[in-house]
Amino acid sequence: MPYGPHTAPDRERMLTALGLSSVDELFLDIPEALRASPLRLPDPEPELELATRLRGLAARNRVDLVSFLGAGVYRHYTPAAVDQMLLRGEWYTAYTPYQPEVSQGTLQSIYEYESLIAELVGLEIVSASHYDGAAATAEAALMTCRATRRERVLVSHAVHPHYRETMRTYFGSGLQLDEIPLVAEGPYAGTTDLDALERLLGDPERPVAGVLAAQPNFYGLLESMSAIGALTHAAGALFVAVVEPVSLAVLEPPGVYGADIASGEGQPLGIAPQYGGPYLGILACTEPLVRQIPGRLVGMTTDVRGQRAFVMTMRAREQDIRRDKAASNICTNQALLALAASIYLATIGPHGLRDVAANGAARASELEAALAALGIERLHAAPYLNEFAIRVPDARAVHRRLLDRGILGGLVLADVEPTDPSVADALLVCATEITTSADIARFATALADVLGGRSPVTIEAAVAIDGSGVSTAGRMAGR
């Protein structure tokens, strides 16, 4: 056993103390007929071989592409300090902080996480933490039902498709979920259809518990969140804003535009893409909803010595106390990722976070201009922050041919919305602070090439802009 301490004499000593001759005797309680067939797995692999194997597998993934893919997961620069703090063994393999006397490090860090996210979203109560943005959003939807004792939730079609699918799964228990369609044409195309929303809210037979909309939405567009909120509240429902945390450095926060609940994906806060997780489900709400919010809450208190200290609190909402009456079944969460997000925010600071968001916006403008010069237009007209859809004939084939040229040309929207004709010929592209002008030039050049046009900038010129010879792909860590 590669990590076990027991030597043969150790085992012998324990068996002797127990009066046994073999460890098999400790398994006699397994009915003979039900004992396991032999494990068909390979022999133990020494670390040298295993490390080689793992490095080989990692090398089979292509992470050196010039990428314009976002779609809910964003590639940002993580300062080196973040992972070095996170790698400290004192954080690891420490389960729930059941014993606050010896868990103040984790407990204070969770309290700080709650406080940091509260500042970002402008809401009072933050739970720490949920599995990811999709699961947190599904929990938010369930919260609205519990709080209003209604059973129907409306979700904008422009909420991330994975989140909508997840909600559908979670709603399998009998609650109802309806989608709010999007405006089809004109300056608001691609955003939530307010008229449709009003109609959906108006059905007296089927009162609505909550309304969910995303800011920016899945297509990168900015929604009229206050208008959605006003309609929602007028119908006695709760308003859930699905947010992207980095954007909140510059965008109006949910607390200001009247959201009752905010949910979202915390991955952009210093967490690597990792092909899908572990990420960080953000969930926050107003004070009156505090008894409805699922997940862990840590509060400040004092100890018997009169010192300030931190402790898990309001646990009566949780499954280990309430069992089948609990607010959710969540137990293990993503605490280490909440810590990562906190370290990231502490390291980068408010100005740094603003710069991250603003650089993304600036690069996205640059990208839009470079594509426009090729005659490639946006699919929508509404304002966006750092991500937008473009109309590209035969998008899937173009995407594939870009890949051959080392470029990840965003997301083929038809892959996630195969039945939606409005996105049949579209790519969703994004820029962040790690996108370089050279990356944009390479994208434009390759796209021109693929589309049979001419390149507006040569690759040589492009590389000169950056100088380092390292593309976006090399700009994520510090990790």
Binding site: D29, L50, W91, S103, E114, D355
Partner: protein, 499 residues
């Protein structure tokens, strides 16, 4: 300044000074945000703390010193399997090829990770004796939800809409009933028999045409293997219900018992227990679910598939309409799964079985060492953990299990899980795991025995423990009565900032 003992720390906010920090991100062009309509713009920047890197580092290094962790000492927290967290796994999960891979790339870009996930599914299927495995659930509880939703879908697919009950033993973990509720089922609690197993009579009489599923934790949360498991499973099958196994305690049966072979229809794994991956202060984890033949069609989407040509791919949107759908975005907590894969390969077949053998041997040895000083409510061979009780001690001295747990802190040990499962009076659930040495087991036993003595000779010393930790017992009532759940500037006396 932990060398003279860990010190309480001010919050990030109290450390902040306006104008500090910077130097990480290039300044954007001045007009970067001009495009964004003012109505969408934030008027005031978020009041995040402003710190420089040295202060951030000191903050988190010093905070980390306030934690007990497996890397610093013995952590026999029952039911949590606090085994050692191999350092190779942390290295592996950080390899650029794994860490920087975006989850929505085309399959051909992600062949390394897809192959890893596919191989891991096979390994988990082999370990559990199940037919197929999904890696999607983010934790055990989400795995339970996945399993129960599949069971629901199964019954419905057969036109059976009557089955609304889920049976769970009273010793079960809280996630079991909570999951049943979340999936819209009614929970029926089955009492335990005197020997700690499920009460078979109560069980069979609760089974019936409205039973959708039974959820059995095996070994149970008492650390006991369910010896009547064959009978139980027969009864379930007969009643037309499905059998869910809560596999959180898999560390006790690797290579010894395969739930799929025994007849369970579905089970979840707690990857972050059995396969060591870190659950730092509460997570992350991963809760893969294995299913028998009947539930395969209902597995969450997307599955990881291996094509004829040996390449790997994800199921496409809508490819398998019988699926219950997705439980979360993307394919799973891949970073956690990389660690689990490394763990399984490092051990291989022989190593995994040794894990179980050593974990069970250590638990039985420790139980043996404690039998004179404490009550042992279920005194038969345990699996990876066991319950001891301070019932007699409390009767004699008034010292409770809580006090004993706190007193352990003074001697440098993390307390066991206490008052769980709820059915044991003054219980403490002790799980040594297989990565603690015999010296450590003996030292821990000696200490617990000494504390039991101390409870008789100097009960106040135990009742007022811990004495050496950075904070003493907390005022939890105040925390709940006047919740302070986020930082706000506060007046000195009210809640003073440690310097």
């Amino acid at each position: 300044m932990s060398v003279t003992g860990p010190r309480l720390q001010p919050t990030l906010f109290e450390r902040s000074r306006p104008g500090r920090g910077g130097g990480k991100i290039p300044h954007p062009p001045k007009d970067a945000l001009d495009r964004i309509p003012p109505a969408h713009r934030r008027s005031e920047p978020p009041a995040l703390p402003e710190l420089n890197e040295p202060e951030v580092v000191r903050h988190y290094v010093n905070l980390s010193h306030l934690n007990f962790a497996v890397d610093t000492g013995f952590y026999p927290l029952g039911s949590c399997t606090m085994k050692f967290n191999p350092k190779l796994n942390e290295w592996a999960a950080r390899l650029r090829g794994f860490a920087e891979l975006h989850p929505m790339v085309p399959d051909q870009v992600a062949q390394g990770t897809l192959q890893l996930l596919h191989d891991l599914e096979s390994a988990l299927a082999e370990i559990s004796g199940m037919r197929a495995v999904t890696l999607q659930p983010a934790a055990g509880a989400q795995g339970e939800l996945t399993g129960i939703l599949m069971i629901r879908a199964y019954h419905r697919s057969r036109g059976d809409f009557e089955r609304m009950d889920v049976l769970v033993p009273d010793s079960s973990h809280g996630t079991n009933p909570a999951t049943a509720s979340m999936a819209g089922f009614r929970t029926i609690t089955i009492p335990s028999a005197a020997d700690g197993g499920v009460d078979i009579a109560a069980f069979t009489s609760a089974l019936g045409p409205t039973t959708a599923a039974v959820m059995i934790t095996n070994p149970s949360t008492l650390g006991l293997f369910e010896t009547r498991i064959g009978e139980l499973l027969d009864a379930v099958r007969e009643a037309g219900a499905l059998a869910y196994m809560d596999g959180a305690n898999l560390n006790a049966i690797l290579g010894r018992f395969k739930p799929g072979e025994a007849g369970f229809d579905v089970m979840h794994f707690n990857v972050h227990k059995t396969f060591s991956t870190p659950h730092g202060g509460g997570g992350p984890g991963a809760g893969p679910v294995g299913v028998g033949e009947r539930l395969v069609p209902f597995l969450p989407a997307p599955r990881v598939l291996r094509d004829e040509d040996g390449s790997y791919r994800l199921e496409r949107t809508g490819e398998r309409p019988t699926s219950i759908g997705r439980l979360r975005s993307f394919v799973g907590n891949t970073g956690v799964l990389v660690r689990a894969y490394a763990y399984i390969l490092a051990h291989g077949a022989t190593g995994l079985r040794e894990v179980t053998d050593d974990a069970v041997l250590a638990a039985n040895y420790l139980k043996h060492r404690l039998r004179d000083a404490f009550d042992i409510p279920y005194d038969r061979a345990c699996k990876h953990e066991f319950v001891a009780s301070a019932s007699t001690i409390k009767k004699d001295t008034g010292v409770r299990t809580l006090d004993i747990a706190k007193r352990l802190i003074d001697f440098g040990y993390h307390p066991p899980t206490i008052y769980f499962p709820l059915i044991v009076d003054e219980g403490m659930l002790i799980e040594p795991t297989e990565t603690e040495s015999l010296e450590m087991l003996d030292a821990f036993a000696d200490t617990l025995i000494a504390i039991a003595d101390e409870a008789r000779t100097d009960p106040e010393m135990v009742r007022s423990a811990p004495h050496t930790s950075p904070v003493g017992r907390l005022d939890e009532a105040m925390a709940a009565r006047q919740p302070n759940l986020r930082w706000r500037p506060m007046r000195g006396a009210e809640m003073p900032c440690p310097d």
